[in-house]
């Protein structure tokens, strides 16, 4: 799935997470390689392996047969495990080869939920392959039961450790067909989603996802992605156009929403049009929701107050916004 290059700040925040995952994939693949080597059962290939393993310096110096007799411990593996291990290794090598591409989804409209599901199921094949390899090593692999793990390993089946180890999923999408609320399904365990939103989008795209245990970041390239990615719990970030709200909800900030939520920028009211399956009204409501939450936090003033509300604009930010929303209410039509 080709994707646009990520802005460098984002790239460098994500890179260690992608690397760590890819590193574990490569490590697992190497472990399987070691197991497969043990499986060379016939003497000839075992000797050949030993001879190769000793390198050219040993040529004419070391009696490979004798060395091999010392070196090969009894393999606990049965020969039947070989094709399974090879299949698992192939999957891991593919995933390793795909690198960071695998963790990036380009969404061009359609069913976001379905696509995220598919993308994660594909990443999940790495966990599936590790499971398969382990089952093969202990002789408990059953093709009917476990074979599917190499094809797709859907998110709902991941256990907590797998969710913690999974890399963030970057979703490149256009703001006009993004309905982020649906993603809450994936926000449990340690799942991390990063939306790179192209063009206009609902101004408070992620407001609905704010809840005590979820790290939510909406903002531009300078958004604190690292903190979200380091959070030991679910997190989502959206990199949005500069007319959208910018805020950070950090579950570690404190017990009250005021301590957790920092609102950095509140935009003008959205244009009266539906975006991402949200009516203008719903978009306003989201913004209202965000503002209400931020009300208890110290919210900055909206960037601009429409002229017709300006005269009587009340003093506090919450009131300001309420007035602003009222003034705009008549635009709520599709």
């Amino acid at each position: 799935m080709p994707s646009d290059p990520l802005p460098s700040a984002i790239q460098s925040a994500l890179a260690p997470h992608f690397d760590a995952f890819r590193s574990a994939v490569a490590g697992t693949s190497e472990q399987i390689r070691s197991s497969l080597a043990e499986l060379d059962s016939d003497v000839g290939s075992r000797l050949a392996r030993e001879e190769a393993g000793l390198g050219g310096f040993a040529d004419g110096c070391i009696d490979v047969e004798r060395f091999a007799a010392l070196a090969t411990g009894q393999s606990k593996l049965t020969a039947g495990a070989k094709p399974t291990l090879e299949a698992a290794q192939k999957v891991l090598m593919e995933i390793n080869q795909a690198g960071a591409e695998l963790n990036q989804l380009r969404f061009d409209g359609g069913d976001l939920l379905q696509e995220v599901h598919a993308a994660l199921a594909s990443v999940g094949r790495a966990f599936g392959a590790a499971r398969v390899a382990e089952l093969a090593r202990t002789g408990s692999f059953r093709k009917k039961e476990h074979g599917g793990l190499l094809k797709a390993y859907p998110y709902p089946q991941w256990n907590a450790r797998e969710r913690r180890l999974a890399p963030p999923l970057v979703i490149h999408c256009s703001g006009k067909d993004l309905h982020a609320g649906a993603l809450s399904l994936f926000l449990d365990g340690d799942a991390k989603l990063v939306l790179v939103v192209d063009g206009v989008c609902p101004p408070a795209l992620l407001a609905r996802l704010i809840s005590p245990g979820i790290f939510v970041v909406q903002g531009d390239e300078s958004a604190p992605l690292e903190a979200m990615l380091a959070w030991k719990g679910p997190g989502i970030a959206a990199l949005v156009h500069d007319q959208a709200a910018r805020f950070v909800h950090d579950p570690e900030g404190g017990a009250s929403i005021a301590e957790r939520l920092r609102l950095d920028f509140l935009p003008e009211a959205p244009k009266p049009r539906a975006l991402g399956g949200l009516s203008a009204g719903q978009q306003l409501e989201d913004l209202q929701h965000l503002t209400a939450l931020a009300g208890s936090a110290a919210a900055p003033a909206p960037a601009s107050i429409p002229a017709n509300g300006a005269a009587s604009a009340p003093a506090t930010p919450v009131d300001k916004l309420a007035a602003f929303l009222l003034a705009r209410a008549h635009l709520d039509q599709e």
Binding site: A20, S23, V25, A26, G27, T28, A130, N159, L165
Partner: protein, 317 residues
């Protein structure tokens, strides 16, 4: 990321084990009765159980000395090294396997004398590990020779008319090293404070140095006697970002509210005073960590060979 040990093997099985203090106990500790090391061992086992650290993912590394027997008494992985060299071994383990939880345990001769060079550099590397200096102000194992932390005037077998020089202060020294990130002091005779200090140190992401004042009933019974008996001689450093020991409220009359992010104040407090100061002198998680800077992702054999071939191309005839 720290759970990731470079493989996905094993993560398909949810780990549902739970561990009690007993699960971390090795063979019976053979220190002298009344030795402060017993209290430290208990405190550490308490920490392990509280944090539910997986025994197979935890490594205790030590040098040589009475205190360095420590790893044998904890049922985790361990490396009982050579005199003064616990920190290089711990560094190697952590560079190779950032997923392991590493503790280094050293005596005052071990850390502050023969291992002093490594000590300084390990502070600067700031690798994430918990580092315990069991400071009894004497060489215990080799039977009462002066150590760098022996109080001036205290007689030993090598300086029988009293230690010639003023003692080196490990807290001051640590605070003086560039990139120090966590420095605390506690004592074997205040178990609740010890426990909380260990917790804070373990939670700190970086090189967490804890000097534990440790009584040696055989060779230095007098040195800490007064401090242990007379609570008036102790001052507790308290802070919500450091340690605040509720159990000690009312027991120790002197407390000082000290923000451990203030390095200047920490250094001032480390200067000698009439009181023994216990608590977190300095803690700042923001320091550069060597093992993070040096993290290298693994490669498969095939990838390595492709890269190596490209490298060898440079030398092709």
């Amino acid at each position: 990321m720290s759970e990731n040990c470079g493989t996905l093997m094993g993560c398909g099985v949810e780990d549902e084990r739970s561990f009690s203090m007993d699960d971390y106990s090795g063979p019976l500790a053979r220190w002298c009765p009344g030795c402060g090391d017993h209290a430290v061992l208990a405190g550490v086992q308490r920490l392990l159980a509280k944090e539910q650290l997986k025994p197979e993912r935890t490594v205790f590394v030590s040098g040589i000395g009475c205190s360095s027997r420590f790893p044998h008494y904890v049922d985790t992985y361990g490396f009982h090294g050579i005199h003064g060299r616990a920190l290089p071994i711990a560094t190697g383990i952590k560079l190779a396997r950032p997923d392991l939880d590493v503790f280094a345990v050293m005596g005052d001769g071990d850390c502050c004398s023969i291992g002093a060079g490594h000590w300084i550099h390990a502070i600067r590397y700031n690798i994430n590990m918990t580092v315990l200096l069991l400071d009894n102000n004497i060489y215990g194992l080799t039977k009462k020779q002066t150590s760098p932390t022996t109080p001036q005037g205290f007689a030993s077998n090598t300086q029988p008319r009293g230690s010639f020089l003023p003692a080196l202060d490990p807290i001051q020294t640590t605070l003086g090293v560039t990139n120090a990130s966590f420095v605390a002091q506690t004592a074997d005779w205040v178990p609740s404070h010890l426990a909380q200090t260990l917790e804070a140190a373990h939670a700190h992401p970086g090189f967490a140095f804890v000097r534990i004042l440790q009584r040696c009933p055989v060779f230095t019974p007098t040195i800490f006697e007064e401090a242990a008996m007379n609570t008036d001689l102790t001052e507790l450093l308290e802070h919500e970002n450091g340690v605040t020991d509720e159990a000690l409220k009312g027991v120790y009359p002197h407390t000082l509210y000290h923000d451990p992010t203030d390095i200047q104040e920490a250094r001032r407090l480390a200067e000698s005073s009439s009181k023994v100061r216990l608590g977190v002198f300095y803690a700042d998680p923001g320091h550069a960590r060597y093992e993070e800077l040096r993290a290298v992702p693994k490669r498969t054999a095939e990838e390595k060979i492709a890269l190596l071939n490209a490298e060898i191309d440079r030398y092709a005839v």
